[in-house]
Amino acid sequence: MKRVLSVFLGILTAIGGFVDIGDLVANALVGSRFGLSLAWATIIGVAGICVFAEMSGRVAAVTSRGTFDLIRERLGPRVGLLNLAASLLVTLLTFTAEVGGVALALELATSVNYLLFVPVVGLAVWLVIWRVRFSTLENVFGLLGLALIVFGVALWQLNPSWGDLLHQIAVPRKPADESLTTYFYYAIALFGAAMTPYEVFFFSSGGVEEHWKPKDIGTARANVFIGFPMGGLLSLAIAGCAALVLLPAGIQVDTLGQVGLPVAVALGKLALAFAILGFVAATFGAALETGLSTGYATAQYFGWQWGKYVRPRQAARFHALVLLAVIAAVAGVLTTADPIKVTEYSIVFSAVALPLTYFPILVVANDPVYMGRHVNGRLANGLGTVFLVVIVIAAVTAIPLMLITAAGQ
């Protein structure tokens, strides 16, 4: 019974923790401009992260080692360092976006300018990383993130023609007033939002933090294969709400407030409060994950002791790195760059960095010396290879499309 409860908790946490500021912005923006004609990109992205998160979780359970540890081993120090530099840049950019997201959500709750919240948010993020136990951290913000279910309820309340919605998803048609290049640019953006590199570092390092053993592979799989797709459904609900309320009004999403507007229209004040809670939980949780991931990646490359499973003074360089990352993220938001724009860039650059992260995982999960009998089967390899091809296509076309469409104008 206790085991069932713990698996259930894990799944709920995975659902609530799936969405971050990138998913919030990307799905609402795409819904408001393209309806559900790009839902396929979200679906493919969610499927992709499921495949690779399962692999990296399995690797962590079997080897008790983090992703970046193994990236350096398999790719060598030079390519590994390049990988580290690129991953750090993208993760730091994402961290900055998440901190900005928390501040924006708090602004919506209080009408106090978001910049004033930024140092407080930074301090809170660092404090939680410093003191709160890893599993508590995961569970609390994961469960609070379930408040975003209010978007599903709002979608229901808006009483759409479900057949029509399903048709839009299954038979995508690009809107006439948008160009083909913009359409595919946003497909890549959705893809990058669903498959952010830091999730893999975090998931595998988290597995080591929680001392996963091979017997925990089943639980990890339940989290991934049930939790992540349901989190993906939340993303689709956000897009659907935007498609139903914002698209007909000619509203294009460029603020966090617009993301929550359909909930207000459909359900009212209380539901909107839940949406804000969901925004705060999702972005704060993701801020914790990205902050920790900068430490995980760097420490694992250099072989330093890392993790919250030891006392801070036993992982001094790791914690110092996280502190530096928090300072950098806070400084980044305080430049008054629009956090929504920062978010949009972070997801596109995530798409560019994806092959660097996912290729090594596929290689390691295939290595029988590391994995023993838990090595990739044909299904995992087949899916992994297919997704790797998709990832490379997305990575290669991301920057050119960004330049051609002037970042989606």
């Binding site: 207000a264 004040k269 804000i276």
Partner: protein, 148 residues
């Protein structure tokens, strides 16, 4: 390789800063005017939907204020960007500007009024200003459709 990367970054930054050059042809200027109108419609309708939700008790005042402040800023920036474009020396271009600018002015001042009324909890003012703004929104939308 570093130089190529630096060039790519520079190109990205330039393109994305939306570096403003004078629109060379009337057609390009018309397209720019259309896009400006669409962007303005987005901000104005955001303000309207939010205000309407608030007046029906479906949104708190903090949320409304935050959205109105954002819409006001965005609208101002949309108008500034459009005005900074040098119109080509054709009669068509000037008439475009003469139609669009007043609409943008009306929209901007109405959203400002909404923002002030929201902060002061003046529901009646909100209602009447929103009513006027709806007309402006429709005109902007028609302009945008016409000059796409």
């Amino acid at each position: 390789m570093t130089r190529a990367l630096g060039l790519a970054v520079a190109a990205t930054v330039l393109l994305l800063a939306g570096c403003v050059a004078p629109a060379p042809t009337t057609a390009a200027y018309e397209a720019k005017a259309g896009m400006t109108a669409d962007a303005a419609v987005s901000e104005v309708r955001t303000a309207l939907v939010a205000t309407d939700a608030y007046l029906h008790g479906r949104m708190g005042s903090a949320y409304l204020e935050t959205m109105l402040v954002a819409a006001e800023e965005a609208l101002g920036s949309v108008q500034d960007t459009f005005d900074s474009v040098q119109p080509p020396a054709a009669a068509g271009a000037d008439s475009l500007r003469d139609t669009l600018d007043p609409l943008l002015d009306d929209a901007g001042s109405a959203v400002t009024e909404l923002r002030i009324a929201a902060r002061r909890d003046r529901d009646v003012t909100l209602r009447t200003t929103a009513g006027d703004l709806t007309g402006t929104a429709d005109e902007l939308e028609a302009f945008g459709k016409q000059h796409r």
